[in-house]
């Protein structure tokens, strides 16, 4: 992990790049902040890549790649899917970016440790399992219990696009990321409705999910625009909030790379990824397997037209998707 920091220093020192986008140390061991470093001194003082570098840095490139000079960025496999998707959408200037891919074995954060039962955390030792020091004594937990939700169902260890790699290139990995979606599909409509009403009822409409999302890259969201007529700081009824999430999921359909950031940042632990994955699963079933951000050439199913495109309503009334 030290090699990542060394690489940042090397790139700045050699003049290859003038800035580095990475993670900055926090006050605890787990609270790293995405940051741009402009000098070797800044990197030496604050740059860190650790088990807690979960934040996906790709979206920052929309603004950063339009500035003067070249910027280096560090990308985990899942981040690289967002990076490619943003390129396909012409949102970033690739020529201003030096991308360093990093092998990744999964990430944790303070909240995921807390869900695993730790409170009062003051330090951690990373090994086979994690030893978490707390105000109330040490706690040993299995790493896989403490992983971020997105890492527990990691879809790929492959870094899709990079100029240089640190560690090993990986491959797509078998993942049961659709298992929970299948469970929801197996519910009756009433049960499913109740499930989502309960989950979404906790939403405080802070918009963290939208603002962190690399697929939500509109300069001004229609819901923030006072003249759009649909700006909604407040909801007319309790269903409107629910609709926002459904609409947002539709809006990012076939562009969502399943990077998992939305669920990671939600202060209310709303399983937003299940909405997105439902759409991904449906697309796979209707139009053939498709993974946003996995390559540069494929055409996004919802922006493509083929004579043999299925008609979803017909397929489902006939009892199942064509495949």
């Amino acid at each position: 992990m030290q090699r990542v920091k060394e690489k940042a220093i090397e790139l700045l020192r050699s003049g290859e790049v003038s800035r580095v986008l990475g993670w900055k140390t926090g006050e605890f061991f787990y609270d790293l902040t995405p940051a741009v470093f402009e000098s070797v001194e800044e990197v030496e003082k604050g740059f860190v890549f650790s088990l807690f570098s979960g934040a996906n840095l790709s979206k920052y490139l929309i603004a950063e790649s339009k500035k003067e000079g070249k910027i280096a960025v560090f990308l985990k496999p899942c981040d690289s899917f967002s990076f490619v998707q943003l390129q396909k959408e012409h949102r970033i200037k690739r020529e201003n970016i030096y991308a360093v891919g990093i092998q990744c074995d999964g990430m944790c954060d303070g909240e995921s440790l807390r869900s695993a039962g730790c409170e009062g955390m003051t330090g951690v030792e990373d090994g086979e399992s994690l030893t978490v020091h707390t105000l109330y004594g040490d706690q040993v937990i299995e790493k896989k219990e403490a992983l971020l939700g997105k890492c527990q169902t990691c879809k790929s260890k492959r870094i899709v696009d990079f100029d240089e790699l640190i560690g090993q290139q990986g491959e797509d990995v078998p993942s049961d990321r659709f298992a929970e979606v299948a469970k929801l599909e197996a519910m009756t409509p009433e049960e499913r409705f109740a499930f989502w009403r309960t989950e979404l009822s906790r939403c405080i409409r802070c918009n963290a999910c939208r603002n962190v999302c690399p697929a939500c890259s509109c300069e001004k969201c229609v819901f923030d625009n006072p003249v759009s007529g649909v700006q909604n700081k407040a909801v007319a009824d309790s269903f409107e909030e629910n609709m926002f999430h459904i609409i947002r999921a539709f809006h990012v359909t076939a562009r969502c790379t399943d990077c998992g950031e939305c669920s990671r940042v939600c202060p209310q632990n709303i399983p937003l990824h299940l909405l997105n994955r439902k759409f991904i699963k449906d697309i796979n079933e209707l139009y053939g397997d498709y993974q946003a951000g996995a390559d540069f050439d494929s055409r996004p199913p919802l922006m493509d037209f083929r004579m043999d495109d299925p008609e979803p309503s017909v397929i489902y009334t006939r009892g199942g998707a064509a495949k």
Binding site: E27, Y30, E119, E199, I204, C206, A208, P226, A234, Q268
Partner: protein, 340 residues
């Protein structure tokens, strides 16, 4: 001082809820805690604090202010205010109890916010000492004692019993209604208090140096270069403001269907791009100015207007929940260091 066995908690809650709504922290499906209306079967959360703060009780996220009905040239006013009903909130931590004082200074000074005032009058606050503070807690930096929260009633929980100490007339009146409570000795909780204070001593930011902030520091801090780096990766999501017990900004808007108009208020956030938007333009054009506002308000402007009192209670919510892990402690430390 009174007490009740932990195993009997349910009967205590039932007794309080007999003639009023009672909110208690319960765990949601993901194990985080939320204030919910007590009903038979509710289980008290053992988490140190709720995701949303207790301010929701008096200052809900959305609230109707009034309505209008338009017929021809007549405009009729419609009262949409909730009926005044008494309620109780149990399990409020010391930090959140202190946040009410901070909100009161805003909403209860002239012109009094009657919506807020009405709820404030009708509530009975039952606080609960913090058995197990989190590393993100730094209430002690603001002189708050997690072992001795204020409120109408203060409670402590030991392994076996919940101890109950009324502090105000409202608290006494409620206590008189609760025959399930039995007499207890004040000395019984000394050990528990000492244990909480011993933990509080060890809190990483419990003695945070706040000397760079407070009254009269605007000029020194406003144009500091550090704001840029601190706000650099802020998403402008507003999570920090919505979960903060002392954030108090709102917007007033209207639903208008051409015949009737519903005027409501809803939380707003200084982190949002349209927060200070006016017809003449936007005085806070980038996230840096918006970000600066949030922290300057808590640490300088509010103290300026309120005899030096800070508008942060150290609850630590923004430390836990900011998607990029930027928060008031990092601001205090960074600015403090730059001042030395």
């Amino acid at each position: 001082m009174k007490k009740i066995a932990i195993s009997e908690l349910n009967s205590l809650f039932a007794a309080i809820a007999a003639d009023r709504k009672l909110y208690i922290p319960t765990d949601d499906s993901t194990g985080q805690s939320q204030f919910t209306i007590w009903e038979e079967g509710s289980i008290l959360s053992r988490n140190v604090n709720t995701v949303r703060s207790a301010k929701d009780s008096f200052f809900p996220q959305v609230e109707n202010l009034m309505g209008f009905k338009v017929t021809g040239k007549q405009i009729e006013l419609i009262e949409t205010r909730d009926p005044a009903e008494s309620f109780a909130v149990f399990g409020v931590r010391a930090c959140d109890v202190r946040s009410f004082d901070i909100l009161d200074r805003v909403f209860l000074t002239e012109p009094v916010d009657t919506y807020y005032a009405q709820r404030r009058e009708n509530v009975c606050i039952i606080s609960l000492a913090c058995g197990k503070p989190s590393e993100t807690c730094f209430c002690t930096a603001f002189g708050i004692d997690p072992a001795e929260p204020k409120g109408d009633v203060t409670c402590w929980m030991t392994g076996e019993a919940l101890y109950w100490q009324p502090n105000t007339e409202k608290g006494e009146a409620l206590t008189a209604q609760l025959s399930v409570l039995v007499d207890a000795d004040v000395a019984d909780i000394e050990q528990e208090k000492a244990a909480i204070r011993a933990t509080a001593e060890k809190l990483p930011f419990g003695k945070l140096d706040l000397s760079a902030f407070g009254q009269g520091k605007t000029k020194e801090l406003f144009n500091r270069p550090e704001w840029k780096a601190l706000s650099q990766s802020c998403l402008g999501c507003g999570t920090c403001t919505f979960i903060c017990p002392t954030c108090q900004c709102y917007d007033i808007q209207e639903f208008n269907n051409g015949k009737t108009v519903k005027r409501f208020r809803c939380w707003d956030s200084c982190m949002y791009s349209d927060f200070t938007k006016m017809s003449a333009g936007q005085p806070r054009p980038t996230q840096t100015e918006r970000f600066r506002q949030r922290f300057m308000h808590k640490l300088v402007y509010y103290p300026d207007n309120n005899e030096g009192i800070f508008a942060c209670v150290g609850c630590g919510r923004c430390l836990r929940k900011c998607p990029i892990h930027m928060n008031i402690v990092k601001v205090i430390k960074t600015m403090g260091e730059g001042t030395k």
